[in-house]
Symmetry: C2
Subunit: 378 residues, 2 copies
Amino acid sequence: MFSDRKQLRIPGPTPVPHKVLAAGAGPMANHRGPDFKSQLANILERLKPVFQTENTIIGLTGSGTSAMEAAVANLINPNDSVLVLSGGVFGDRWAQICRAFQADVHVLEYPWGEGIAPEAAADYLRRHSHIKAVFATHNESSTGVLNDIAGIGAAIADFDCLYIVDAVSSLGGVDLKTDEWGIDVVCTASQKCLMAPPGLAFISISNRAKERMKAVSSPRFYLDLQSYLEMLERSETPYTPNISHFYALEEALNIIEAEGLEQIFSRHLLMRDMVRAGISALGLPLLVADQWASPTVTAVKPDFDDVSGFVASLRDDFGVELAGGQGRLAGRVFRIGHMGYATPLDMLTTLAAIETKLGRFGQATAAAEQVWLQTVGG
Amino acid sequence: MFSDRKQLRIPGPTPVPHKVLAAGAGPMANHRGPDFKSQLANILERLKPVFQTENTIIGLTGSGTSAMEAAVANLINPNDSVLVLSGGVFGDRWAQICRAFQADVHVLEYPWGEGIAPEAAADYLRRHSHIKAVFATHNESSTGVLNDIAGIGAAIADFDCLYIVDAVSSLGGVDLKTDEWGIDVVCTASQKCLMAPPGLAFISISNRAKERMKAVSSPRFYLDLQSYLEMLERSETPYTPNISHFYALEEALNIIEAEGLEQIFSRHLLMRDMVRAGISALGLPLLVADQWASPTVTAVKPDFDDVSGFVASLRDDFGVELAGGQGRLAGRVFRIGHMGYATPLDMLTTLAAIETKLGRFGQATAAAEQVWLQTVGG
């Protein structure tokens, strides 16, 4: 079948709307000329409502991990004590990066598939008064857990430590109130809910974090946020930015603004509920309980052996590209991405492929359609 | 006039061919699926002849500076002594990055606008036996100097130190024999002679450098080349790569292979000679003498005061986008980029705009046309 008609249902990169791809194919520009400078400033300004922040937003030419490293390299000194709240691959990534920068890393580890208890974070800080920063993951895409970032923010608000959140696979698809929830630093990337190709990362920084930055000596150059802040005053970046993806993102922001954040958040919740209803109707176990279920990705832990073969067959025989498991879940789960440029109909085609493969004709789709109709209220 | 008809004559980003832009707008893919994996492996393999190397080539999602930092962070320990050969902004950038990573940095500084004498580098190493790496710039785009990378390589071949070269604004447009000239590490980026948009960087690494890497403790994560080498064995990258730009680069490689490297190198030399003849015919002083003149960018140091105003007028009134000066040359030179997807006709339109602005109708173009006709031998 058409190799470019595969349903891309992995937790990123996500499908990019045609208009966004077309905008990204615009002619090259001088990144230090007046046209691109005003475009860059405008895009970063329009990201603020999506981040729900008044903080400065910096655009980095890199993957989401580059924004995570920027947070660590610019805010953590060697031997600084930090607390990482982890329940999956991306929580662990915070710990790995902090260790690479020689921090004293404390990890509050949660079972993979469960959310983090805000009070446990506060308890930990009470018993370890020297912790300078708390690192959390909004949406743990390796398990499909959405963490209670608001609750953690409230629980740790009285401690003098930075609150740093990885929102790579949530921002722009799931409610994240950066300022209201007291988050100093939010990291995200272009290729998830923002519906652009991978290659840009974004990081918002509070004034408190900007102050802290001045006293940090960790080696950094490409990701030195101070140089980005200085160049931002003239609407430039220190190094040549990914111009094409800024073109693309501008068009993606048009689409996001036209739909509206509230509607976007509802659509993601609906897609989550449809997928979970469909998978449950097939009798396949969901990895995550309802209370923590992610609006952007759902992990399924089937009782059959060859999960990798199942994923490969869905891709090669049925045209739906799912993700396997990561880390200790490799070979044990498959994951369905439902973020960004995705619709309820996409959930039905995905479920249809899965039920066809299993010979359970119509069963998952029927359950998901019921959820859809209830939501639309038709 | 049409804002998208500006002649982009800066030393990068450079104009991107329509076919390359169109390829970059292809639908998004799973970066860990079989299709993209084979595409990635194929592209990195096809880059080897362009690098003129058998060494491993790694693709980074970042600007050229990210590849430069990767070279330093992975190969230099704190307190290691390094020698930087610098005659401009990009030579100085090597020194800045090495200092950020706490190396003991020795700089052999050359006048901006002159090339580095290979023997001086060898002399320096003779007098400082503890130097572990020599950093050089192939094409110093802040001045338009092409350094004698072959000569430096030969002069330092007998010393036990790594030879690391920034070829960001030369590779794919100017002859660079990585293996023959004994270069351990070559850094480049997508948006110069490779004719793709900015957002990808490439770095080639010799076996000697790979060995050295194992003993380096400098903090790094996003740019940790060891993790790229490991993932490369299964044709993947550790973090989500800039998929669209790999699509674009694949098409750019088609164009490069169709023209052929020798022909590409000749075209760049011709464009250089046409620009220099035209500028000289206007009586404007060239910054760099013939022996060091860059095939990809020409700096002009005019005798009039308002160089920035001149550049702005050419852009706003005459539709040609030149670059001003950088660093200590800011406001004192303008630079004409002639690399990548550029032709002799482009040089004539650029010179035509300049001579029109100066009221010297036909004079620069006449001189450049003569050079062209001589070369074509018509």
